[in-house]
């Protein structure tokens, strides 16, 4: 009985908070070269700075509003992520050709690392 009650409480607690399911990005600027922002891969050209808005998707009925979100490039020599103005706004900058990933930290917990490819500018 006691165990069942605890399970019920835990379930209720989870249901009251957003649970990370995925992150997507919306482009806020018009970079001179196309920037690919799909769920599983980001691709950006060297030299390009793209302003994006991150959208956190929850697996519960409760959506994210302003929970802390941090995006960290795992290789700042390839890609940099700089905070933009406003909640969940960031600027992605292609520094040099290469591959890295962006670590997604939501509510101080690392959720995933999204692969990024920085490519040479189209000639």
């Amino acid at each position: 009985m006691k165990r069942a009650l605890l399970t019920l409480l835990a379930t209720a607690a989870v249901g009251c908070a957003p649970q990370y399911r995925a992150i997507t990005f919306q482009l806020r600027s018009q970079p001179p070269h196309p920037v690919q922002l799909d769920d599983e891969q980001i691709e950006i050209s060297v030299g390009v700075a793209a302003s994006v808005r991150a959208v956190l998707h929850s697996s519960t009925m409760i959506e994210y509003v302003d929970e802390p979100l941090d995006l960290d490039s795992q290789d700042g020599d390839v890609l940099q992520v700089v905070p933009g103005s406003g909640t969940y706004n960031f600027v992605l900058i292609g520094i040099r050709e290469g591959e890295t990933c962006i670590e997604v930290e939501v509510d101080f917990e690392v959720q995933e690392c999204i692969p990024v490819r920085v490519v040479a500018p189209p000639s």
Partner: protein, 278 residues
């Protein structure tokens, strides 16, 4: 196609060029800024020298260029739409491609590179991309008009100006260091060079070649120097006597040509141009 000097047309074309660059409204020169890509303000281009093609009236704020010269140096400023905000801190998005030292940017790589306008909290408030292009040709100009052949009279001092262009004929913005050379020092001599400028004194009748070089790129202009009148007192460009002066005045080309022939034209067709696209 070879171009020769023609004073009246040159002057008119120069005026048209300046109007095209800055707009001929009540304000004779109203630089066009670069709009921030996030729409929070404007980036202003700052010429470091008086020979940057983006600033036809000298150092200061110029039109935001369509293309920047590889190796060119320049400044940028940012104005928030909301004037109450603290000044933005500008930063190159990729310092290996666009170096920022102090307040001077230097273009180090071809192609687009972002420039960020940072808020006081370090977040990006706005951004813009500059397009850097490799110079592939050099033009020699007087009063921002290209010349392959320039007529002058002995005693004149002419200020020549070199411009770097790319394959698409854009005048490339940024301060650049050109080197200058005159073939025959008996006909004309370099009396001073700085950046993209050269001051040349015409010494004696004859023909020589003026060369402006930027790295491996060189452009020649033939100097046709004639014995003729050149006075410092003429205000309308018309010589008043037939005696050459000692060359202490600074001619602008049109003045010199006028003195040599009376009507400003010393032969050849006049096909002056304001040069490439900026």
């Amino acid at each position: 196609m070879r171009r020769t000097s023609h004073p009246r047309l040159s002057r008119a074309l120069a005026l048209v060029g300046l109007c095209a660059l800055g707009g001929c409204t009540d304000d004779p020169y109203n630089p066009v800024p670069g709009p921030g890509e996030l729409g929070n303000g404007e980036f202003n281009y700052v010429c470091l020298t008086d020979d940057d093609p983006a600033c036809p009236v000298g150092p200061g704020v110029g039109n935001f260029p369509a293309r920047f010269a590889l190796g060119g140096r320049f400044g940028l400023q940012y104005d928030w739409d909301d004037a109450g905000k603290p000044p933005a801190d500008l930063r190159s998005a990729a310092p290996a491609r666009l170096k920022l030292a102090g307040e001077v940017f230097t273009a180090l790589a071809d192609g687009y590179t972002g420039v960020l306008a940072l808020r006081s909290d370090g977040s990006v408030g706005d951004l813009i991309h500059v397009l850097v292009s490799t110079p592939t040709r050099v033009a020699v100009q007087v009063d921002r008009i290209d010349y392959a052949e320039y007529n002058a009279v002995a005693g004149q001092e002419i200020r020549f100006h070199a411009v770097a262009r790319d394959d698409d004929a854009y005048d490339l913005a940024g301060a650049l260091e050109f080197t200058w050379q005159v073939d025959d020092p008996a006909v004309a001599e370099l009396i001073g060079t700085k950046g993209a400028h050269a001051f040349v004194r015409m010494l004696a009748p004859g023909t020589t070649t003026l060369r402006a070089s930027l790295g491996d790129l060189t452009q020649e202009a033939t100097l046709l120097v004639e014995q003729g009148a050149f006075t410092t007192g003429a205000t309308d460009g018309t010589a008043t006597d037939g005696t050459a002066t000692d060359g202490t005045s600074t001619g602008d080309g049109s003045t010199g040509s006028t003195g040599s022939t009376g009507d400003g034209s010393s032969g050849g067709d006049s096909t002056g141009t304001t040069g490439g696209v900026l």
